[in-house]
Structure formats: structure tokens, C-alpha cells
Symmetry: C2
Subunit: 490 residues, 2 copies
């Protein structure tokens, strides 16, 4: 499937009324006004104090009144674009646009040949290659698996070198303190062949930060996000508000808390750099009340995401969500939970879908086969979102007349003129009948996916990069490694 940016023109599903949207907003504002959010970062508190938040010296809890919050949120653009080193892979964020990114941050990975194992550099590179290969993946999110065989002080250097040379799509930086994100910004600048001014003129990459729910923002994430903001680069703030665990058991309560946490960090970023692009990430789901395990793709996840969509539109902010599941193997449960998550994303009007391909086990494992399977369903979503033509030719009364009551449409001119592009043709789904399927070995979906990723990796060619740029990138990585990389003491 060629590169394309889907535009979601479906009216979003809105499970709560406009009045209820205001009530949830009021709840979020009351949390910010009456309870407050802990900002465990001196610089962040100084910025907020400077912007007028009342905050006694030494105190970490910040309260904000709603006028202040709304005034700052109005500075955030409703839409923006991020331009990677290949400008053809520019992505619009916000509005009706919908873009997909690879699974991010699992500590483990698995495939049908080698089973489940701790992530390493090789599997990281494999999954980055799949990220580049599939045009339905629009951005290279976090590490598709944590390469734990690379020391944490230099992991970002090796990982970003791979990401920037093996892909030419928008890259993400982990906001784990300032050193790492500054290294990554420098690498993205080099990879794009940009001056400092060019880098800072428009979004070139992004980060995602999470609050430490309930009601807390930790030092490293705020530190990283502030570094990006000061250079005009976007941050998505994604509270991980599991209803019944880190947030109220009721969906409106979990969403109100998600908003209070998320909006407070966006306010900080707008204070630090007015107008900096940003977005809010919905990660509200429920837990299994018997075990506390998180669940995804559930009825509650669907509704929480849709309500979050209503709230994001209320605030005029781009919305991020995920293609998530709780299943432990890439079989039926994973498939329906992911399909329900995609339904949530489409019906909520989500703009950025994280973890769109490869996620298993509530995010603890990246599956090679699931990556390929998810790309099949993402391509179907992209096809679903294409506009439908309803001309007189499409209504086709003349073709119906021609075929009459005893003919067949395969052969008629109306079909012949359109059959090559009329329908989505899957690369993974098997639509053959049982006998043909059995004759070919009764291969199920994950095993078909297994053959495919091996072929893709065997034939993979990295996107072209100017030799001098690659050299500069390599030298940067080597120098920063000699300098010891980033501190790992937090």
C-alpha cells in the first residue's frame, strides 16, 4: 500500500452529552483548583510560579485556576505537522488526520521461531525495519522493544542512530532527562541536514511523557519535555489513568483525572514556550477487578477513548490513543481486542495511534507476527477511511440493466473498468475456501505473518542517506559515547 495520510471524516461517536462534557471539564478544573498536581521538577515549578501560580517555596503541589488553564491551552495549535528527514513522510497531527506508529517500549519481544525473550539490539533493529517497510506506519514511535543489551547511558545514541538511518519517518525521543533529548534533537537535526534555526523553525520530531498517576509529574519527563518545548518540538502528554487503580473506578472520574494531569503539563509547556505544538494522550482503560491486571480493547476502553475524544475537541487539542490488547499470544483474543481498540480510535476521532503495530501483553511484549498482522488491519482501516464516490456511474443502473436477471457482474464492462482498484486486496488475510486453505497446509494467520516478516527483513534496504550526513551522525554518536552518554542515576 502506498504512503498516504488517512482523513477520518466519520462523525465521531459521542457517548456523553455536551452538558456532560462541561461537567467532566468542571471536574478536571476542580481537581486542578482544589487538589492540585505535584510537579517534582524545580524548573517546572519556577516557570509556573513565574506565570502566576501561587506556590509557597519548597512546596511541590501546584494548583491552577481554570481561567489560567484555559488561557494557556488556547495558545496550543489545534493542528501542526512534523517533518522528518524525508519530507515526503511529513505527518499532520490534529484535525481529521489519523496517523499510526509502531509499538513502543516493551521490555520483551517474541516470534514464533524463538519464542519470548528479553529485548536486544538485534530485535530492536528488526522491528525498526518493519516500521520503515510498512507504509501504513507513519511514525517511528518509542523503541519497538527495549534493547537491554545496550547500556542505558548510551542506548539512546545507538537506538536513534539506527532509527534515523534505517527509517526516514518521524522519530520520537524518550524524555528521560535533558541529556538524552538534547542528544536526540541534535541527531535529528544532523540527519535532516538542518541548521539550528531550521530545526527549531518547525516540528521535526516529538516526545511523549506520562504523568505518574495519580496527580504527579516526575522530574525526568518534565525535564525532557521542557527541552523539546524550548526548541519548538512537540510533546504528547499521556496520563496512564487505569480506572479503579490509579484513577477513579468510574469512567467520567478517570477521564476527569486524566484531563487534570494531562492539561496541567500542557499548561506548563505553553508557559515555557507559548504556542509550542502539543497534544493529549488518552490511555484510560479498566483493570480486572479480581487481579488488578490492566485490560485493553474492552467496552470501558472504547467508551473512555470516545469520551476523551469529545474532551480533546472541547479543548481544541490533538488526541493520541493506542492499538492495545491484554492478550499473551497473537491469536484470537489479541485480534479482537486490537480491532476494538482501532474501532475506539476511529470512532473517537483519534489523531495519533501509538502502538498501532506489534503490541501484546498490555505492552510488555512486541510480537513480530502481531506487527505484521496489525499492519493488515491498519491497511484495512486506511481503506475504510477513503471517501466513497456516489456518482451516477457508481450507482450503476446501466450495469444492472446490462447484466439483467441471469448474468454475472464479473465480465461486464463496468466491473472490468474498476476491478483492479475497487476493493482492498489483503497481503495477509487468507480468503480462500477451506479446501484450498487445507491443501496449502492450513496455515493460520500468525504463521503466515511469520513467513512475511522473515522475507521483509531478508530483503530490507535502508532508505537513502547522504554519506556525509551519515558520517556526521556516526561521529556524533562516537563522541557522545566517549563522553559517557547520559547519566543513569535517576
Amino acid at each position: 500500500m502506498p504512503w498516504q495520510i488517512p482523513v477520518n471524516t466519520d462523525a465521531p461517536t459521542e457517548p456523553v452529552t455536551e452538558e456532560q462534557v462541561h461537567a467532566i471539564h468542571d471536574g478536571a478544573m476542580r481537581i486542578l483548583e482544589e487538589i492540585g498536581i505535584e510537579f517534582l521538577n524545580d524548573e517546572a515549578r519556577d516557570i509556573l510560579r513565574g506565570a502566576g501560580c501561587e506556590l509557597s517555596p519548597g512546596a511541590t503541589n501546584v494548583r491552577m485556576d481554570r481561567e489560567f488553564v484555559m488561557e494557556k491551552l488556547r495558545l496550543a495549535p489545534a493542528e501542526f505537522t512534523i517533518t522528518p528527514r524525508n519530507p515526503e513522510h511529513r505527518i499532520p497531527i490534529g484535525g481529521r488526520y489519523m496517523v499510526f506508529g509502531n509499538v513502543s517500549s516493551p521490555p520483551n519481544c517474541s516470534d514464533l521461531d524463538r519464542g519470548r525473550r528479553v529485548g536486544d539490539h538485534e530485535s530492536y533493529r528488526d522491528l525498526i525495519k518493519l516500521t520503515q517497510y510498512f507504509n501504513c506506519i507513519h511514525f517511528a514511535g518509542g523503541y519497538p522493544v527495549e534493547p537491554v543489551d545496550i547500556h542505558a547511558s548510551v542506548r539512546h545514541l545507538d537506538c536513534l542512530y539506527d532509527k534515523l538511518t534505517l527509517t526516514d519517518k518521524v522519530a520520537h525521543a524518550y524524555s528521560l532527562g535533558s541529556t538524552r533529548v538534547e542528544d536526540v534533537m541534535e541527531m535529528v537535526r544532523i540527519a535532516g541536514g538542518l541548521s539550528d534555526e531550521e530545526f527549531e523553525a518547525t516540528p521535526r520530531m516529538y516526545t511523549n511523557i506520562n504523568s505518574s498517576s495519580p496527580l504527579k509529574h516526575d522530574w525526568p519527563m518534565l525535564d525532557g519535555a521542557l527541552r523539546l518545548a524550548l526548541r519548538g518540538q512537540p510533546t504528547i502528554v499521556t496520563p496512564f489513568t487505569l480506572a479503579g487503580a490509579m484513577a477513579p473506578v468510574t469512567l467520567p472520574g478517570a477521564v476527569a483525572q486524566f484531563l487534570a494531569e494531562g492539561l496541567s503539563a500542557l499548561v506548563l509547556l505553553q508557559c515555557a514556550r507559548p504556542g509550542v505544538p502539543c497534544g493529549i494522550g488518552s490511555f484510560t482503560s479498566n483493570v480486572d477487578m479480581r487481579t488488578g491486571s490492566p485490560a485493553f480493547g474492552t467496552p470501558e476502553y472504547l467508551r473512555a477513548t470516545q469520551i476523551s475524544g469529545q474532551m480533546a475537541r472541547f479543548y481544541g487539542l490533538p488526541l493520541r490513543a493506542s492499538n492495545a490488547c491484554a492478550a499473551n499470544c497473537p491469536y484470537a483474543q489479541a485480534a479482537w481486542e486490537s480491532a476494538f481498540s482501532l474501532w475506539a480510535a476511529v470512532s473517537a476521532g483519534v489523531n495519533m495511534v501509538y502502538h498501532a503495530a506489534g503490541w501484546l501483553e498490555g505492552g510488555l511484549c512486541a510480537s513480530y507476527e502481531k506487527f505484521v498482522m496489525d499492519c493488515e488491519t491498519l491497511q484495512q482501516i486506511i481503506t475504510y477511511l477513503k471517501p466513497i464516490s456516489v456518482t451516477e456511474d457508481d450507482i450503476a443502473v446501466d450495469a444492472v440493466r446490462e447484466v439483467g436477471q441471469s448474468g454475472h457482474f464479473f465480465g461486464c464492462q463496468h466491473t472490468q473498468d474498476r476491478y483492479e482498484s475497487a476493493f482492498y486486496a489483503p497481503f495477509l488475510s487468507d480468503w480462500s475456501n477451506f479446501e484450498n486453505w487445507q491443501e496449502r497446509g492450513s496455515v493460520d494467520t500468525p504463521h503466515r505473518a511469520n513467513l512475511l516478516w522473515k522475507k521483509i527483513l531478508a530483503e530490507f534496504e535502508a532508505p537513502p542517506m547522504d554519506v556525509a550526513i551519515e558520517e556526521e551522525l556516526r561521529e556524533f554518536v562516537e563522541r557522545r559515547k566517549r563522553e559517557g552518554g547520559a547519566a543513569t542515576d535517576f
Copy 2:
């Protein structure tokens, strides 16, 4: 999950504009006015001629003008109920209601122990028991598998005896000529302990008929539907308009033809018995253009179903669709195709979902495991459709205040008061972490479903039935068998 009728209050997804709805309607009307539909049934043609359709003697092609069509369609009720022998299992059809039925009519069945095989009486009874067991299945549709070991002349007698004794839900009769449906109507009357007048006073059962696309209605189906109509029983008309095969390759064209075929039969029924309850069934999907194989749960299926929903609301008719897939085994592809089909049903505002549990292979196989897996997702859809409460208590600012920045919501009173009913608890999905899942044998979804259906069948108890009624039913079956059952010469 207790018995309940979901009410779908989501605004339907409407991929075409109001103007385009009128254009598709115009296409359907032009097919009826300019091309016509073959009615291969003398009685049907006599009724239509009597109602004013111009039709030369001996000709089978019937044209109808749009004023006539719309006048007759206005007689059809927008909503009705069907009451089975257990009135607590009454189902509303139309409006915002959504009800689910078992898979119907596959020639084959399969389970993980015995593999795939031709359907027989035992597997028919097994699947009927599953139909009764799960409260998320609201009606007993067609035979969940064809019991080919029972002779076709008496199959309806044995099957309906089983259906009416092993379930107390709404039953379906195949419209294969008049003898069969008259036998079934008599059996439903007996099972309900009803007089003829009581049976005819309100819907007690239903049938589904298909056109023989393109543009043809065969004798037996019309014959059966007319028999039901004359006794006030509802018919759903479901053209099987596969785009690119039996219908135009363009979705608006396939929908226009589906409407022309479907509406023409509904007009016939309204001529035969003005005001008789009826509905229209959408079965428009696409084929694999390389092989001609039908595909389901595709982007095109989603859009065709949603457009059909717009058209059904335009005509004020209840809409039927399906939970369909093309996959050959109950694994990932089956799960995502079925999830997309359910998304189509919810977003189209479908009222009756046929084949909601157990369907595989484009309808050629009923899977025991898929039946159980589908019931898991149906329960999730039913939960999804429950209204969301957004009171001040639900927004939960006080609970957020109580838990503060370092607490956890598991223990707080707000959670304790709600945790038992806050979230859907799955009976099949495994949300445990990988280590626990592995320790318990890494059992995947179909194998968990396999254990469940065995337990359900082992413990199955038929719903109570008055001894005299069961005796009367058995005597009816025995008498009709002695008489030779139904002719099998068509």
C-alpha cells in the same frame, strides 16, 4: 450475563450524505421501474398484478413504479416484537434495539477435538443448546448446522422439535415452500400453547428469505414468506449482493440493487397482508477480485452495511446484518473480521445480527469454539451499549481528593462501593500476565473455548415445557413423519 436487550443510542455512522441517500434510492427505484425483478412464483405475480402492477400473462418480470413502492412500504411497521413460548424472551425488532442470533445454515461444523465434518443431528443439537445457554443470543435463527443425516423431507420436523424443546427463544422457519413453514407455524403455535387466533394476533416466529441475485425471487422462498405473511408472521428479506459478482462492483451500485431486490419482496408482502411486520437484511460485501471468493468484515463490508443502515432508516424499516468472516479457523483473522463485522453492525444501527455466534468460512462451517468466542465479544458489545452515568459522584472529585497524590484507588470507598459492577468481567478472555498464563499452560482462546462448550453441554438443562404441550408437539411430528413430511422435489 443476564438476559437483556441492548439499546444502541450511538449516532450511526453515515458515510454518504442525505443527497446521496436520495440518489441511491433513485437508483433502486429506477431498477424497479426500468428493469424489473423476476418473480418466479405465480401467486406472487397474481398478488402484484391485483395490486396494480402491469404484467402481461406468462411474463415473470415485474416492474413497479416508485409511488406504488413507497405507498406499500409505508404500511410496514418501523418496530415490532416477536414473542416466543417464553414471553420473557420476547424480542423487539427495529428502532434502537439490537438483538443477536446464532450462526445459521452452514453445511459443516468443526471443533478442536473432532475437526471439520459434515453437519449431523448431534452437532445440530449441541449448537442449539449453546444457543439457549448464552443470554447474549436473543433468537434461535436458522439451523446452526445442517443435520444432513436427517432426510430433507422431515428435517424441519426434527429440527424444530429440538429447537422448540431445547430453547425457549424466538424461532426461525426456513421458507422452503409452503409445507415446511406451515408445519413450523403449527409447531410454534403448539409450543406456545396458543390458539390459531392467538398465534396470528402477533409475531411469534419469523423467516428470512434471500433473493437470487441479480434481480430474481425464486418460488419456494416467496411461497414460504407468503404463508407467514398471511398469518401475520414477519419476514426479513436479505439479498446476497456480493459487489463484483452478483451486483455492481461499486458499493452504491451494490446497495441500490440490494434495495431493489429487497424492497420488491417487501412490497409483495405488504400487498398480501397490509401492515405485516417485516425487515430488510443487508448482506452486501465484496469478493476477492483474483478468485471470486466472498470476503466479510472488510472495509467495503463496513461501509456497505453503514450505507444500508442509512437506507433502512430512509425507508423506516428494521435492518438485519451479520457477524461474518471469511477465515477458515477460529484464530486471529476470524477474530478481527468478526470484530469489524460487529463494528459495522453497531455503527450502522443494525437491529438484528444474524450469525452472531459460531460462523466461520464465509458461512460454510459452524465452529463450536468460535460460538463461545463470539459470545464473549457479544457480551462486550452489550456492555458497550449500556448507558454511561455522568453524575457528580461519577466525576468523583472527592475520591480523587481522598486518594491524593500518593494513594491508590483500589482501597477507597468510592471504588469499594462500585467495584463489583463497574466493569465487564469476561468469561473467556484471559487478562492474566504472561507468567501466570504460561504457568497455567499457555492456553490460547479457542482451547479455552473448547473446555467451556464441553462443560456447558455436559451440564445443559432444557428450559421447562408443559408435559402435555411436549406430548402434543411430539405427536404432531410423528404424524407428519407418517404422512411423509414435505416434498423435496424443488
